[in-house]
Assembly symmetry: C3
């Protein structure tokens, strides 16, 4: 275990433009934010300010994994399900809210040696759950020393 | 990006009395906690000390969204499912544990300009998964400068 | 509410050897890490560096709860489901990625009075989703004063 004085906080916000249901890798932007923060040891909190997309950690090597996840969620939470009464914005409206809760909108990731300490196969993704394009706002808070 | 000296931590704990399966908005209490913490920039960690309710971010505008989520989870994890052997406290016992894991018990939210930086449609909710009333304990930890 | 100077960060990393699908309690290791960190008030972020296991909070009293969760996830995300095209490492490959996203890989837990402030029935677990043994890497970051 290492223990040190905690003395630094950095924050950044950016927007991502989505084009319907898809996964958008955020690793490069997050790695840049950590590098610029000057934090060597600590952690980064990444947060999406929305209830119809997800911010999550997924497998980064085989794009088929993300397509399988899309297929799995499409079966689990089908568009236009008659169970749902909230459909103000169309058949993908309520399924997007359910997916957002199941996959989450926030992750905390350790920072070690001045870099985001993701596992070899981990990537940080914005997962758009709406069928139409949206502008998504992401906040990153980095705390440490 | 802004970077500053990190120098403040605040914590508060409160209880919520639930009346069966329902969503209880915590935003006012959390906004008050952030205002009193004196933290301008940082993040707030909100945590429920239980395994049969959820602490999560949901849509805050249309109450039908929360009722649809209740309907979806009632179908996905039905009470009295013969799959479950743990039923010591009744047919809603094990479903409550499953829901608690699917929707989570902890969220991290950015603090910006001295306020909780939720998106326009985001609210923080305690979601009670048990059919009978319970007293739920919530902890908030706010870190920043 | 208590508010104090924030001045300490501690981090530790350890490995867990799994033996197929099972839950492994991490509480003792985490309590030890918090005790050694010297942090009295703050929070601990626990993170698994993988996309085919989960790091989560579950019920700690009745092992049947964990077996019911295994049964529920086995039905919800069945091995060898023809829906999945990514099966490079076998029929449990893609289901492990789905489970990892549904149950998460990261939790934030408050630290109070120098101890991990879990609820009475809460335990922190590594949940192995692969059928074969794996070595899993866990990082803990403790921030506070």
């Amino acid at each position: 275990m290492t223990a040190s004085a905690m003395n630094r906080i950095a924050s950044v916000q950016f927007e991502v433009r989505t084009q319907g249901r898809d996964w958008i890798a955020l690793d490069d932007r997050l790695r840049g934010a950590v590098a610029h923060s000057g934090v060597r040891e600590g952690f980064a909190q990444v947060f999406a300010h929305h209830t119809s997309c997800s911010l999550l950690i997924g497998e980064n090597a085989d794009p088929e994994v993300r397509r399988d996840l899309e297929r799995f969620f499409a079966r689990l939470v089908p568009d236009g399900d008659p169970l749902f009464r909230h459909a103000a914005e169309g058949p993908d409206d309520m399924p997007a809210h359910v997916r957002s809760i199941l996959a989450g909108v926030s992750v905390g990731i350790p920072v070690r040696d001045g870099a985001l300490a993701l596992g070899t196969w981990q990537g940080v993704y914005l997962w758009e759950h709406r069928a139409r394009p949206h502008t998504r706002r992401i906040s990153v808070t980095i705390l440490g020393h």
